[in-house]
């Protein structure tokens, strides 16, 4: 796993300061079929390659971040504040 996460608020910090929630996925519509919600909540791809995840900087600024990283090379492509993606 990537060792240094460039937090947009705190600068580069070790992964030990963060808590990983899991994949950052688009949320289904409130009235979407149960099967779609079931997939959203429980089913994950576990890809080898690029992956977008929600990370919480629990040991630092305590903001939720979206970390785009590569699970094979450990490269971190981008880290943004999750609030920035809200409409």
């Amino acid at each position: 796993m990537a060792s240094l996460i460039p937090c947009p608020h705190c600068g580069p910090r070790p992964k030990e300061e963060f808590t990983v929630r899991g994949a950052a996925l688009p949320r289904p519509a409130p009235n979407a079929p149960v099967a779609e919600w079931q997939a959203h909540v429980y089913l994950r791809e576990n890809p080898r390659g690029d992956y977008a995840e929600h990370w919480h900087h629990s040991g630092g600024c305590r903001r939720w971040l979206v970390v785009n990283r590569n699970t094979a090379t450990h490269a971190v492509h981008s880290v943004t504040d999750a609030a920035g993606e809200r409409p």
Binding site: G11, P12, R13, H57, G60, C61, R63, A83
Partner: protein, 178 residues
Amino acid sequence: MPDTVLIARPALASAATGHFGAPGTGVTLAALPEDRLWQALARPGTDPAPMLAYGAGRCPLRSIGPGQWLIVGVGTGTLAEAQAALAPTFALSDQTHGRMRVSLSGPRAADLLAKGTAVNLALLPEGGAAQTLFGHIGITLARTGPEAFELAVLRGFALSLWDELILLGREYGIEARA
């Protein structure tokens, strides 16, 4: 009459003091008075300048994230008065009882801190602060001088942090004063 009587006691009352490790004093560790410490919240991007009046010292206002600050100091006035003056932009809560501060100074203070935290201390300016982990203990690190730092820590972790700092400082020679 309440069944339980709460006794006010300094968090580091039983802390080890004296000189430890190598000869000389590369680092001095000292407990700071448990004076006022508030936490403030606001919308990210808010200018914290109005809160400066309520802090004191070399680093009165410590940014611990977007729209989050610690206010340290010995100023006058109650929390309620400050909250009334700063509302609705800022929300304050009193953390005096919840956190305490220790100072770490000396020519090797930065070397000692580098053993426990990944914050780049060379880039931390005087008066700057960073919320981080020291080992597994969450701290608010502030730089109060070229070779002087302050660590604000949750009260229950203060003694653990104190012992850890002494252990890690032995190779530099460390003087601990409660």
